[in-house]
């Protein structure tokens, strides 16, 4: 088992390296001149000044050197610094010493002038909070519905849950969110249904970030984004669980259980459902990807101050360091999620040996 986990982690390295290369190449291929952006197209700048700035930022290096600096930092590259003969310290010819993203240095946000890693760490908890509640709701509703659909196979409950699942997947997330906000928040004038993560007008918490407001004071703000974001998960889990149950119910050990004279209820719940749950573990990876992807739109609609909203802001302002950091962090989370779901599968199903 440990060997398997290690192997999966090692396999993740080329994947993540690929992610950084792909996103870096996209960044390089994009039209637009970073210097022009930095100086807001200042018309008084001479070409020499531009050249000097490009030198300072290392923009004249070939792309793979720039990539290497961005990935691993420049403090280990002897040609990037000179040792001060008096103090013995390294003096960088470029504007700043970089540690590279593998050491958590994603650079500084162009627009917000804050270290990207700091922005991410303040925004990530909001996304994790929303993601967890979405995941819980999706599982707690989706799985029982799936079991029900299998138990009453071909009956009214089965067909109606099937219809609801398809409808749930077909409704655009952002439109459902808009309707909920507009109907409950605006027309019915409910404050917490208008988006946000906590009541910014509450005098007690005016100066505190939402994350520090006790969860009991702001749990209602989670309701609508969770509904919107969990819809896809509920639909997916219920269909998957139904199929899984129907597969299990035809196995020999279920026939044995029945022939022992056990009640239907016991057979379904204790014998079938438990084993049918195993394949659900493989759903964890895709679920996390779905939540992260969905969070981009949902957070935007509900002004939920998470990673998705940060990403949208960055994309609107073309704040490259944040864009890159968000893409890479979401990829890392995805890869980890896939590894976990793989491992969980083995934990739940002792027949699987690696």
């Amino acid at each position: 088992m440990t060997r398997h986990i290690i192997r999966r982690l090692v396999q993740a390295i080329p994947t993540l390296l690929g992610v950084t290369i792909i996103s870096y190449l996209l960044l390089i291929a994009a039209p637009g001149d970073p210097i022009r952006q930095m100086t807001f197209g200042d018309p008084n700048m001479t070409p020499q000044q531009r050249e000097a700035l490009a030198d300072i930022y290392g923009l004249n290096d070939p792309w793979f050197v720039q990539y290497l600096v961005w990935l691993t930092g420049n403090d280990w590259m002897p040609w990037k610094y000179e040792i001060n003969s008096e103090t013995g310290e390294r003096e960088f010819t470029e504007i700043n010493k970089r540690f590279g993203i593998i050491r958590g240095d994603f650079g500084t946000s162009i627009q917000k002038r804050i270290e990207v890693i700091e922005l991410i760490t303040t925004r990530l908890p909001a996304t994790i909070e929303l993601g967890l509640s979405t995941f819980l709701v999706a599982i707690l509703i989706g799985i029982p519905v799936g079991i029900g659909a299998a138990v009453w196979h071909g009956k009214f409950f089965d067909s109606s849950s099937r219809i609801l699942a398809v409808v749930g997947q077909a409704i655009p997330n952002f439109w459902l969110g808009l309707l909920l906000i507009l109907f409950i928040g605006v027309s019915l004038d409910v404050q917490w249904a208008r988006g946000g993560r906590c009541n910014l007008r509450d005098p007690r918490y005016r100066r505190v970030p939402c994350g520090q407001v006790p969860i009991t004071e702001r749990i209602q703000y989670l309701v609508l984004p969770t509904i919107v974001l969990s819809l896809g998960g509920i639909a997916g889990y219920s269909r998957f669980m139904r199929t899984s149950m129907l597969d299990t119910i035809n196995s020999d050990y279920i026939r044995t259980a029945r022939s022992k004279g056990l009640q239907d209820r016991t057979v379904w719940m204790r014998h079938a459902a438990r084993n049918a749950l195993i394949p659900i573990a493989t759903f964890l990876g895709p679920a996390i990807v779905g939540i992260l992807s969905g969070a981009v739109v949902t957070e935007q609609i509900f002004s939920w101050p998470g990673l998705g909203l940060l990403f949208i802001e960055a994309v609107t302002q073309r704040d490259y360091p944040i864009i890159m950091a968000s893409v890479i962090i979401s990829a890392v989370l995805t890869v980890i999620a896939y590894i976990i779901s793989d491992v969980l599968y083995a934990v739940f199903d002792p027949r699987i040996r690696f």
């Binding site: 080329p14 994947t15 993540l16 690929g18 992610v19 792909i22 996103s23 996209l26 960044l27 291929a29 994009a30 039209p31 637009g32 196979h153 071909g154 398809v166 409808v167 997947q169 077909a170 409704i171 655009p172 997330n173 952002f174 439109w175 808009l178 309707l179 906000i181 507009l182 605006v186 027309s187 269909r239 139904r242 199929t243 129907l246 597969d247 119910i249 035809n250 239907d264 990807v289 992260l292 992807s293 969905g294 981009v296 739109v297 935007q300 990403f311 949208i312 994309v315 609107t316 073309r318 864009i323 968000s326 893409v327 979401s330 990829a331 995805t334 890869v335 896939y338």
Partner: protein, 304 residues
């Protein structure tokens, strides 16, 4: 509580039918489909929507409306004889914009889906057939691309390149083929071990011939099914991106970008918020139903 593997009543219906046995795979599927009224209904709705989109320039002219003419004297108007569904925030006719929006939303999704499908199909067959290093590289590539959540990648690319409508379709297609490729690759891996492929090879058929005239026809059914689902998914993606302002931008109307600014519309004209969203939902719903129906028609043994 007997649950048999064959739960599909459509298939049961045809057992013992003498004519049915003589038909080929495709004809059997069509026969089953012709008895699946829900799928037929969904197909008709899509047909009507496509018809509405294609004839939009003519119909709007007959009614005497135009999707681009602004009339600032008459914004957020309620439906009346002249503007059957009212007007939007700039006094443009809502119905005309919905019809032209259908044109863009549908054609973007259809074209991008076809593009994605052709790429996925070709690469899937090639990697599945050759295996080895080609397969290793492609698997690495799709795991890498697949580990970036879809919307992140799409938003990143469309923010970096600020694409026009055509480039946007290209981006949707170029980033959307992973699922199809996985599917096709898996199927090809199974198919290439079959006897008739070995026979073809023994007769000296070239690799290209085996891949494209022996394997590809057998992939057609899964490809058609995934096409319907993919078009639906792409309509959702396109509308979300256009809503956020990173897809197709005004003045060109798409169902997605007609919803940007809904917050301001709500108090004055709810139709402006409900209309485009409902059309998206109905279209995608029909496409998913069609996908389901096609899968049942092609593979009556599948339980879900």
């Amino acid at each position: 509580m007997a649950t048999t593997a064959n739960t599909n009543n459509v298939a049961v219906l045809n057992v013992g039918d003498e004519d049915f046995r003589r038909l080929n795979h495709m004809q059997r599927a069509l026969r089953r489909l012709s008895k699946d009224y829900i799928t037929i209904a969904a197909l008709s709705v899509i047909g009507l929507l496509v018809l509405m989109a294609v004839t939009a320039p003519v119909t709007t002219q007959i009614i005497g409306i135009d999707p681009f003419t602004e009339n600032l004297q008459k914004t957020y108007a309620a439906p009346d004889g002249e503007n059957w569904l009212g007007t939007d925030n700039k006094g443009r006719d809502h119905l005309a914009r919905l019809m032209y929006g259908a044109q863009i939303s549908l054609s973007v999704a259809f074209t991008a889906a076809f593009l994605a499908l052709s790429i996925g199909l070709t690469l899937g067959i090639i990697t599945g057939y050759y295996g080895g290093v080609v397969d290793d590289f492609m698997i690495w590539f799709i795991t890498t691309l697949g580990s970036i959540p879809g919307l992140f990648l799409l938003l990143m690319v469309s923010s970096l390149f600020r694409p026009g409508p055509l480039a946007f379709i290209l981006i949707l297609g170029l980033l959307g083929w992973i699922g199809t490729m996985r599917l096709v690759r898996g199927e090809t891996l199974a198919l290439k071990e079959r006897e008739y492929i070995i026979a073809a090879r023994a007769m000296g058929a070239s690799d290209a011939r085996i891949m494209f005239s022996h394997i590809m026809p057998n992939l057609l059914s899964i490809v058609i099914v995934s096409l319907a689902i993919q078009i639906g998914g792409l309509i959702l993606t396109e509308s979300a991106l256009s809503y956020l302002g990173f897809g197709i931008n005004p003045p060109i109307a798409t169902w997605g970008n007609m919803l940007s600014g809904s917050q301001d519309f709500w108090r004055r004209s709810r139709l402006l918020v409900v209309g485009p969203g409902l059309l998206i939902a109905v279209t995608v719903l029909c496409l998913y139903v069609i996908g389901d129906g096609l899968r049942d028609a092609f593979d009556p043994t599948a339980t879900d």
